[in-house]
């Protein structure tokens, strides 16, 4: 069964919105071949109807509704002096509620051969009775599904990737535009999708592996990660991410805060709705660790570039905690043994730390496609910089430059000093050593043939140029 929401805006007090094509799209996207699609209005002044989409007939319907429940008649519902707990913006809409009673709030349509079963003249309408408003209709599709996702996917996307992308798109379709549009822009801009990949791999290790349920969790983890990025970008005053303007830069700090909060809450809800308390606790603990580390990170900027011990503490919270949680939660969802869950958690923790070290090195690579030294400019914690500042030859000059204002010239000088020192090779060695420790964790448990994939994923996460 697949559940989603159709969101739309209405423009008139009374309006027939033809949902037929959108419902057909939902059926196509879901891969439902034979079954039913259930619709439910989520509003008391929004009805549903199946009828003919002929403009004059629609005017007849409106006239009929007006005759049966006139807009200018008296309704007790509109007598605010007699009602309790009314909102400040309570509308005068007794007529709309009465009209809704003449329609229905629910509908079930049949699906055969992957399409809605509708007669030649039948269309499916949402009927606005108190517009203009933002509206939602809940949709559930059930029956026999073919594996037929129709989203535009990377050419080499595997089956699991396709499911996650489909789930991400499906979740965002249900959300109001003011939050969905910026999040969609961020998700569509790319990202490595490492965390959902880890969920999907480790979920194959338990006896209760279910691809669709796993894709839901994987997508929720990716949404959570992106929600944290939206707030991070505001905190770091970043103007671009993945080559596009950040939410804060494009739409303002207020919107960025709201978008981050919305998707933080939505992701935790999606995970809670899965009903596996071990998974919920694992993700919640990771989220708390991320927030604590963020506070530490900003606190450390006064002593920039800091020291290795502080760096590792922050990175284990900010980055590795969600890697570890992704690895553990996938296994937990499928009912893997505690021994496997713990080994994967440690693997994720080590991999996440190594991944961040590799990410720091990318900041000094002219091949990365990003401006060199962006981390320095934003005074983001960076291990190569810490090591360069400790270096006997370049350290004093690095520290002197970091103590002053960092214009483009100073940033370029620092980046050049870091590149000329042994800092980058030292960080690379350290990241690779952590990956080997992560691999050792995998040796301790039976992984049903997944070990080579997890090893290869860990090594490629560190040996990269971007």
């Amino acid at each position: 069964m697949i559940a989603t929401r159709l969101a739309f805006s209405t423009a008139h007090p009374t309006e027939f919105i033809d949902l037929t094509e959108r419902l057909r799209d939902e059926v196509r996207r879901s891969g439902l071949t034979t079954g039913r699609i259930h619709l439910q209005s989520l509003h008391t002044t929004l009805g549903l109807a199946v009828n003919e989409n002929e403009p004059l007939l629609l005017r007849d319907f409106m006239s009929m509704l007006e005759r049966l429940a006139p807009g200018d008649a008296t309704y007790e519902h509109d007598d605010f002096s007699r009602r309790i707990d009314i909102a400040l913006d309570e509308p005068i809409n007794g007529h709309a509620h009465c009209r809704q009673l003449l329609l229905t709030g629910f509908a079930t349509l049949l699906v055969e051969d992957g399409d809605l079963v509708l007669g030649r003249w039948q269309s499916v309408f949402a009927v606005e009775l108190d517009g203009p408003r933002e509206r939602q209709v809940a949709v559930q599709l059930e029956g026999e599904f073919a594996h037929a996702p129709t989203l535009a996917l990377p050419r080499n996307a595997g089956e699991g990737t396709a499911l996650v992308e489909l789930e991400l798109a499906r979740q965002l379709m249900a959300d109001p535009d003011p939050v969905a549009v910026p999040m969609r822009r961020l998700l569509e801009a790319g990202g490595k999708r490492l965390r959902p990949r880890l969920v999907q791999l480790t979920a194959q290790l338990g006896p209760e592996y279910q691809p669709l349920r796993t894709a839901e969790l994987a997508a929720a983890v990716e949404i959570l990660h992106n929600a944290t990025l939206v707030h991070d970008d505001y905190v770091d005053e970043s103007t671009h991410r993945r080559g596009r303007p950040t939410v804060a830069a494009a739409e303002g700090a207020e919107r960025a805060i709201a978008v981050g909060d919305y998707y933080f809450a939505k992701a935790t809800r999606l995970i809670a709705e899965q009903g596996n308390n071990n998974v919920t606790q694992t993700i919640a603990a990771a989220l708390e660790a991320i927030c604590e580390a963020q506070i530490d990170d900003v606190g450390l900027r006064g002593a920039y570039p800091g020291d290795r011990e502080s760096y590792v503490r922050v990175v284990r919270g900010k980055t590795a905690a969600l890697f570890a949680a992704a690895c553990a939660s996938g296994a937990q969802l499928s009912g893997a043994s505690a021994e496997i869950v713990e080994a994967l958690y440690r693997y994720g923790d080590l991999l996440g730390t190594a991944f961040q070290m590799a990410d720091d090195m990318v900041d000094f690579s002219p091949m990365s496609g990003k401006p060199v030294g962006l981390d320095i400019k934003q005074r983001v914690l960076s291990l190569p910089l810490i090591y360069a500042a400790e270096d006997r030859s370049v350290g004093p000059e690095v520290r002197r430059l970091l103590a002053g204002a960092l214009g483009d010239h100073e940033v370029a000088q620092v980046a050049s000093l870091v590149a000329s020192s042994e800092a980058l090779s030292r960080v690379g060695d350290e990241a690779r050593a952590l990956v080997e420790q992560a691999v050792e964790e995998l040796e301790k448990v039976e992984l049903n043939g997944l070990r080579p994939t997890l090893i290869s994923l860990a090594r490629s996460a560190v040996d990269r140029a971007s």
């Binding site: 109001p176 505001y234 978008v259 919640a284 927030c291 506070i295």
Partner: protein, 128 residues
């Protein structure tokens, strides 16, 4: 009034907030809660609600954006609340809390006025 030892453990890094409105919020939610529930869980659930209310206030959700340090404290309040709920609340309450935050943040993003936070969270606490 100081927090009880049980609550004190949940206030790590957030201690300063207790005297800056968190305690009042907490007591307010505690009073609204159904006395039929588990008495050992009630304080934790009331704290979870209070953390959400104080968290979004710190962030400036629905108003002027808070500076970075306040936003991060607000984020931690929300995350702490979420973790407390996973330890202590039913799935229905966890989902209702998340929906309350979704409603408030969606309203903030749309420039609409949301229902009062205390009403939303009191309803979430009563979710079955």
């Amino acid at each position: 009034m100081s927090p009880t030892p049980v609550l004190e453990r949940e206030l790590d890094r957030l201690e300063a907030l207790w005297d800056e409105g968190l305690a009042d919020c907490y007591h307010s939610y505690l009073e609204t809660m159904d006395s039929a529930g588990d008495p050992e869980l009630r304080p934790r659930l009331a704290l979870a609600a209070a953390l959400v209310e104080v968290g979004i206030r710190l962030q400036g959700l629905g108003g002027a954006a808070a500076p970075a340090p306040a936003l991060l404290m607000g984020d931690l309040c929300l995350a702490r609340s979420s973790r407390i709920l996973t330890d202590s609340a039913t799935r229905a309450v966890q989902v209702a809390f998340a929906r309350a935050v979704e409603e408030m943040s969606s309203a903030a993003a749309s420039g609409r006025e949301a229902s009062p936070v205390r009403d939303l969270l009191a309803r979430a606490l009563a979710a079955r």
